[in-house]
Amino acid sequence: MIRLLALALAAITIITTPATAQIRERDIERGRTTIEADRGYIYLETDGRFFGIFLRVPEPEDYVAYEQAREDQFAELQEQYARDYAAFERAYANARERRWRLPTAPEEPTMADVSVTPPELQDAASFGPGSDFAHDDDTDRRAYLTVVRPGTYVWYGPVMYDTNQGFVGACNCMGTVMFDVVPGVVTDLGDFLTAAPRYADRGGAQMEEFGNFSVVGLLGSRTVSLPTQSREPSFGLPESLAAWAGEPVEFRAAGKMNNFYGTLVDRLPPIDGVLEYRRDQVIDARTGEVLETLTLPQNSTPSEAEL
């Protein structure tokens, strides 16, 4: 039983919890946080609590670094194996001499024993439902400011890691949007992610499961309901970020992704001028192009030489 549990834990170690680096408005007002030139910032607003994960599209060097990390870890495992085997040989000889029960030889490691977070998840960034940048007690309007590594990000969906439940939520695995985050600038998503989707055209299964998620916190369980009302999205950074460089976001459609975190499978409803569907085909509304079914969209592929 212990071994089974250990195996299960080993299997999930590769899926690491997304980084959470949230800035709070009060930290800026008190001068504790200032903008850094080499970091990216994602600002968004929602009506009510919200949560989610952004996945950064890996670049060729990320794959190279990943392969190197795997090889390094494998070399370490082999070194450990060599030490373990030498110890086994000594123990074996000793046991044979004394006619004790013979020890079992250690298993030689293979690449299957290597566990390194895959490039697609290495720069995953999560936000919410707590640790908001600011909130309005009267309207429950909330803002989240997340620090990320600059690059192209995919809106993976309302998924969060709950310490009591594991990953909770629904991924936009069957279609979503992506956008660029440039360094030293706050990328202003406004309330686009929750306001712009045409919920009436969502399609899919008509189930409550895709609208409400139970989140277990220190003060007990509460339900976070996902938005269902479409409206004109609004943008604009708050006064507290006036000294920070801001840039409006440009969204584009993104194709299908794997269900990395093993959550419910969903898709972002269509969005005028950005994202459309033909059955389950993801359409770039700007060009009419059908997007490839990719693990992460528009991902550059390193050549064999680079690898």
């Binding site: 999930i12 009591n164 594991g166 695995c173």
Partner: protein, 199 residues
Amino acid sequence: MRSILLAAVLAGSTAAPALAQDETPEAAAVQQAALTEEEIAAIPMPELVFEPSANDIDNYEKYFYFHRADTDFNEAYADILECDALASGFRIYAGASEPYPGYYGSQYGIGGVIGGVIGAALADAIHGSAARREARRANMRNCMAFKGYARYGLAKDLWEEFNFEEGNGREPEPQRTEALMQQARVASGPTPAAEAIVP
């Protein structure tokens, strides 16, 4: 008899390239050659006609099948495999983003992801099992609905003939394949006489 027929079909289908160590079963299955008409005909068509009781109707949330008009078997089978893989947390999508052939299979292996809505599954096997079954149903419904398939209710005993539940671990691959092929046969078969239910 059914097993013998299926064995023949499976033997035929595995004549496609053998499953490489670095491929997931789903990815390999999607990539494999389409089944021939003869092979498709050998897949038994499950019984779908029944007189629904009130209890059957109450259980349509659990027991159902999919169908889409003007869809051939291979298309339906690919759709079911894709949805099954997504529901299982498998990595099925690779395509042009794959740094080199077999990359994703070698990185992720054939294991699924533990987590999701299974909620404290390690601590509570019963709750986790029920939640996993529920999550699978929800994911299959959502995915197949996006693909344009309609959903039809079925009596539990008929459903069990060509479906499986995976509350406590993955079914053996031959049984899964057999069931998924039959589901594709139904999904691409004659239009059901019954009325479709909510997606």
